[in-house]
Point group: C2
Chain length 539, copies 2
């Protein structure tokens, strides 16, 4: 790890290195299965409060920035990360085992995401302004002057994901959307990629300094996973939480947040098996090759360590479908395992696979080859019948890794029962031929049921790969997330960190810019219940 020259690194609290008194960790190179890189000291008793207190102190000045100032800060953060791009990717490769091309792509996504939120901040739709001018002559009662806007919640605690060391980590989506909303961030570094986190954290801290912001706007803290994590969620300065990780991790943070004297929202993105429904018309002779290829690529990409990786594939009975499954078997057998993120994630995957194969109703379809490194298990596909699936809840549990269960079904009723019993999911995908009237009708039925259980519904294609834009929803009902009312990817994520407030009869001299008559920030606003577009605008 050439980019990290010191032997020891520390938390960056309000821009300053703070030596942790709670021991230290080193990264593990998962391809070699050995420790690598420098030490990172972990926060001990009472040290986290330095970060949260600084964040609370920074909040007043940070939320008072103009949209343009906040946009410039986010843009600088993107630039500083880009400037260290080569170092960041090199360290991330060693710490996560992810290939260079994937990390380059993720780096681009991360900086583009910061720039997207800079645009969102500048455009200012998230201020959510609603104006109702006074109606002194209204009967039976006059109406006062009412001006609503949204303000940021306050300091946000963010937890990084192991599987996206850049795009869902230190300067990832949660951090970008919270900062764009006007909330300082205290980021709990993921101990699986501490060096990557350090480099990105330094870049963000530089951006804070470059714009002369209160240094408490951003802190990066290292600590023993659940210990410091729970402290962060319980800390009275923290007003909301962003988390991406396991169901057990997420639900334990939800419980801590709900038990606070003053409960706070937790946005946890947790677990999803992302069912894929293959209808009869999708397994015709001319389609099965591409379908099998697409499926195995989606399954084995990033070693299946994606929130949206396909974990359940529903395939009809019949010869054509048998041919499709046979093609899947061939392709899986030819596929080679990819290094997983950590030895413990790999061990969990093995346990999950063993639990699955221990069930009598489960048969193997195909298993690829182990990769040439440590922690690179072969991708594997198993199969069961729909009756067993419906009877055995364990068959619908997520196995984080390149393991998929093919469920063979007999009828449309089977699929409706499957949908009916589905837990909340990030995604669901339908494969069928649009020109097949029967399948189009079945797809319509399934769609209606899936809407109530899923955040994103695809027709064709594969759920892996989440576009970061204005219309994306990366969310879904529990247990896919803690709160299906929001998204953690895309511009709408900014809404998670805001709340509305109304000013009644506020004199002109006291009105904040978003609600001033002159509309100095050129916002689109609602006036008397109708949207009025800004004439100029910052787009």
């Amino acid at each position: 790890m050439t980019a990290l020259h010191e032997t020891t690194y520390h938390s960056l609290i309000a821009g300053e290195p703070v030596t942790g008194t709670g021991g230290a960790v080193r990264a593990i190179d998962p391809a070699a299965g050995v420790e690598t890189g420098p030490e990172f000291t972990l926060l001990g008793e009472g040290q986290l409060q330095e970060a949260t207190a600084q964040a609370a102190e920074a909040f007043a000045s940070y939320r008072a920035l103009t949209p343009q100032q906040r946009a410039e800060f986010l843009t600088t953060a993107a630039e500083r990360i880009e400037a260290r791009g080569a170092e960041i990717v090199a360290v991330a490769m060693t710490e996560t085992g992810l290939p260079e091309a994937r990390l380059q792509g993720e780096l681009a996504r991360t900086v583009n995401q910061l720039r997207l939120f800079a645009k969102v901040s500048a455009a200012g739709d998230h201020h959510g302004v609603r104006l109702e001018p006074a109606l002194p002559d209204r009967t039976p009662l006059p109406r006062p002057d009412l001006r609503q806007r949204r303000i940021p919640l306050g300091p946000v605690g963010v937890f990084g994901a192991s599987n996206f060391p850049l795009a869902f980590s230190v300067a990832g989506g949660d951090t970008a959307s919270a900062l764009a909303a006007g909330c300082p961030v205290v980021f709990k570094a993921h101990n699986a990629h501490p060096g990557t986190g350090q480099l990105v954290g330094q870049a963000v801290s530089e951006a804070v300094r470059a714009h002369d912001l209160h240094p408490g706007v951003f802190s990066l803290v290292y600590g023993r996973g659940r210990e410091v994590g729970q402290q962060l969620v319980a800390d009275p300065h923290i007003r909301a939480v962003g988390f991406t990780g396991s169901r057990s991790g997420g639900t334990s943070l939800m419980a801590t947040a709900a038990a606070r004297p003053e409960p706070i929202p937790v946005y946890a993105e947790m677990s999803s098996v992302n069912p894929i429904f293959v209808l009869d018309s999708a397994v015709t002779e001319d389609r099965i090759e591409a379908l099998a290829e697409g499926f195995v690529t989606s399954l084995n990409g990033s070693a299946g360590q994606l929130c949206t990786a396909p974990g359940l594939l529903f395939v009809p009975r019949g010869e054509a479908a048998d041919a499709f499954v046979a093609r899947v078997a061939e392709k899986v057998q030819a596929a080679v395992g990819v290094t997983m993120l950590t030895p413990s994630i790999c061990a969990s995957r093995h346990e999950g696979e063993q639990r699955l194969t221990g069930l009598t109703a489960v048969e193997p379809v195909g298993r690829g080859q182990d990769g040439g490194t440590e922690n690179a298990p072969a991708p594997a596909v198993y199969t069961t019948d729909v009756t067993s699936y419906l009877a055995e809840p364990e068959l619908s549990e997520e196995i984080f890794g390149a393991v998929c269960l093919v469920v063979r079904y007999d009828s449309a009723e089977d699929l409706n029962s499957v949908v009916e019993g589905l837990e909340g999911q990030l995604t669901a995908t339908l494969h069928f031929d649009e020109s097949d009237a029967a399948d189009l009708e079945l797809a319509q039925q399934l769609l209606t049921g899936l809407e109530l259980r899923v955040g994103r519904i695809l027709v064709g294609g594969w759920p892996t790969g989440v576009d970061v834009g204005d219309a994306m929803v990366h969310g879904g009902p529990f247990p896919a997330t803690s709160d299906g009312r929001s998204t953690s990817v895309g511009t709408a994520a900014i809404e998670r960190f805001l709340r509305p407030i109304v000013y009644q009869n506020l004199p002109a001299g006291l009105r904040p810019e978003p609600v001033q008559d002159e509309n100095p920030w050129q916002l689109d606003r609602r006036v008397e219940g109708r949207t009025v577009l800004a004439e100029g605008g910052n787009r």
Copy 2:
């Protein structure tokens, strides 16, 4: 109660009377302190599920209504309530002790609110549509076709408030906003006004029948308060909860919702002392008469039983302010107590007042006369100094009723400390003369602090009286509500019962109306991140 001719009434489950097996209650006429009117049977073991299962069954067809159909249903509900207006007001007068004029006003507010949500439903902004057309040539990756909209959460459990037997009860704001969003409602009737609830419930059920909707769209259930209430929140068919009531009631529902296998959002509006800050420039000779008059009217209106009633009045030291407090004392002494809603609310008020007067730092300012009925305690004002206030948390607790504490302060620093220590509030009010530069600056400071703790900030006027429109926020940080990210009054309340979903590459034939290219519902929509106004529109 001439309008209720039967000797016994029952829950209205999916439009049908269902005899409860859990005993019965009668209303209490608080002015007389005796039971009155017919019996209402209470649901027993296992009966609630009939209502929630019917609501779940109704959801599919109800959410599929067009905006216009839903608007027509809400309008009919308003008409049916209006048609029984005289009966409803007569029964409510007996059950709540509230005067006729107040109830007439509340009836008007209730039906106007239903009509407002009919308009909201027809305009359709709450569909929150965001479109990003496919970009097949984008590099490095093509963009799929993405179409986001919001869909209703599912059946909502709603709890009525004792203090608004119409506008926050059976067909009140929570019911109207949930129904407008497309969610069936199971309403837990308040046992303090069971007959009022029955009449309004019959009217809503008639509207359901008139539009040939699935009868499960609306149920009204009677039960023992916390028992059936907890069952409702724990019921797996219920997807969100609206509640207006006490802090202990609200927090216990929050705990139940968080402990469900699948947690759900609870929107509880709970407690608030609604501080009023009187600055020096507001207590000049020419202003104190109107200020004292306005204050005592706001304090004693509806016996102080309003969520936004003033509970804390911060008044400076000095002769001018002394004169103001003396004027308040006179006016309170001349004021006459009003019948409270129930004997137990009256008893709680007495207890609260006794706790307050038991504290050594508290002195009386003035006490009015008891009303001529049972349960009509005199309005009362007490005073303390700011040092005691800051030292004694009990002094900032809500007493539900016409009791206010005047806190005398010495300096701007005192007020800043007060704001700093404030719990979440529905409202805060500033009184000052805008032409006084020093007070304008102080107001600016206080405003900045209050924004983080309050949902609505007033300059001048009194917090009682909440305008129902597009810009209102009736909400605020915990403990004012369970969730400061929303409002329970005004059109934005509809957002509480929706969540986003995105369709990726959905063929034209499967697209729901809100996301179709043709925009058949004429919605304002976001396209590529910018709002595009509908050409026609339903406004």
